[in-house]
Amino acid sequence: MKARHFFLASILFAFFFLAPSARAHEGMIHKGYVSCLACHTSSIGGGHLTQYGRGIARGSSLRGGEYHQGPIAQGLSLNGTLSHQVQGRLAHLNSEHEKRTFPMQADYLLAVQVSSAAHLRTTLARAPKNSLKKDKDGQLTEARGAELWFVRELMASVDFGQWWRVELGRDRLSLGLRVEDHTMLIQAANRHGVMDFPTQVRVIREGENSRHFFTAFAPAGSELDHNRERGGAVKSEWIVTNEGPHLVVGLNLLHGQTEKIKRSLVGVHTKLAIGHFAFLGQLDLTRRNLRGSDQQFDQEVGLVRLELHALEWLVPYISHEWLSVDEDFTRKAKVRAGGLRFRLSESVSVMADYKQMEGQSRGRKRKDDFFISQLVLNLF
């Protein structure tokens, strides 16, 4: 028993002192970060952290202080050419219907610096078995490959001059706010599920006061059949002010089509930081048409979220999400949530969320409350 405790304590110790955290957070605007590029290798944020990002993760944690790359990590990096990261999430869910603790995510992230202007990055992910769902015929209803290791991201990235970057590969779509929770309505209702990583060509312009993402995308092969979509998307953000209050406004456009449905999306989002507060908001309007018929239905989905950044390592928030779909697919939903993000060190953080969901679909009402806490560990 003692040996087991020692083993667990050693693992926790290793995570605590060795690993950087990779929580992408739009609330970083509060600290003046209007672009993801300082802390992440990816222009759309999240995932692999740069050395600077690790420094910020450490500096804004309860542990504080300076980040220094350890000798083993330095050796594995082959003089800075490779950058490795392992991340994992352990979740505990408590709702009326179920109570369970489960491994939510396990990823290996690798970035390869090919030259000063080009790099490759990939995220190899392992989906937990207990998240798999089967229909009555025993067929997986999750996307193909979900039961295995799968590639969450595989992108080749080349910088052209100071402002332009071209990326090719497989990644999530860049649209709206980058939030870490794929169950949020702005993600789920816009078909950005955990397995939606389309093949894409992305052209990015990161200017002084604006950033633009132009994406052409096609199915990657792992999506469910009805989610195999091809099309184009544009995300633009303008930095209105980054001195004193920080304000960014964004515009999102998407047109895509699957075998059965065409959809067009117009959306706006904003990020605002004043004093100790950060406000995030997004509103997307989507029109879907059934191909081969004149039937169409409209959808509105939105999010407002308020975060308190009085402490750098502990960020409580409240949020409100709403969804409304009209015509034949009449559906309404509201989600009120509150929670906190607690960063213990660059390698350990805790997320706790309480969500109250109210929904109505074709006349049937549904109400659900749940509490989910997640322990996020990163190993470098």
Binding site: G32, L37, I56, R58, S60, E206, R211, N242, G244
Partner: protein
């Protein structure tokens, strides 16, 4: 009665003369205290990454005969804030070396309108000449300036942290109001 009146009038004028000797010159040249804010916006070598921050400062000047002179400004290192404590620490330790930023000028300016303040800036204990194009508003009630500071001209190396390096030119905005 006339004698008493004359003596009272004489004493009054003597008192006025005394007042004029002591108080009127003081009214003409006096030290004015100011409090204000410095805003800085820093670009880096990383695309679209900029930091901004503020510092609180105190200033003094001499106002005499419709002019403002002997300007002295002080920003204590602990007042420099950027929104992230790690950056504040780096700024305080690596740029300011935990010493106050001081500016002193002997330029004489009118109490209204533009004014070129020629003086000496002390950062990290190193003193270098600096010219600031300022604007004096409302008869010396407030002083505003907008200018760029070159770190290399001040003998400072651009600070760098894990690959992100601050650019040499730092745009600054200063606004001071007279304290009451």
């Amino acid at each position: 009665m006339n004698h008493i009146m004359n003596r009272t009038i004489n004493r009054f004028f003597s008192l006025c003369t005394l007042c004029s000797l002591f108080f009127i010159p003081l009214e003409r040249a006096h030290s004015a205290n100011y409090h204000g804010e410095l805003e800085y916006s820093v670009r880096t070598n990383t695309r679209a990454v900029r930091f901004s921050g503020k510092a609180q400062g105190l200033a003094q000047a001499v106002i005499a005969d419709g002019s403002l002179s002997a300007v002295s400004v002080r920003f204590a290192p602990e007042t420099f804030k950027t929104g992230l404590s790690l950056r504040d620490t780096h700024l305080r330790e690596r740029i300011l070396a935990d010493a106050p930023a001081l500016f002193e000028s002997e330029s004489v300016c009118a109490l209204e309108g533009p004014c070129l303040l020629r003086g000496l800036l002390t950062l990290r204990g190193q003193t270098r000449p600096l010219e600031i194009q300022a604007r004096i508003v409302s008869g010396g009630e407030s002083v505003e300036a907008q200018f760029s500071l070159s770190l290399s001209a001040q003998g400072l190396e651009a600070p760098s942290h894990l690959g992100v390096t601050v650019q040499d030119e730092i745009p600054l905005k200063i606004k001071f109001r007279r304290s009451r």
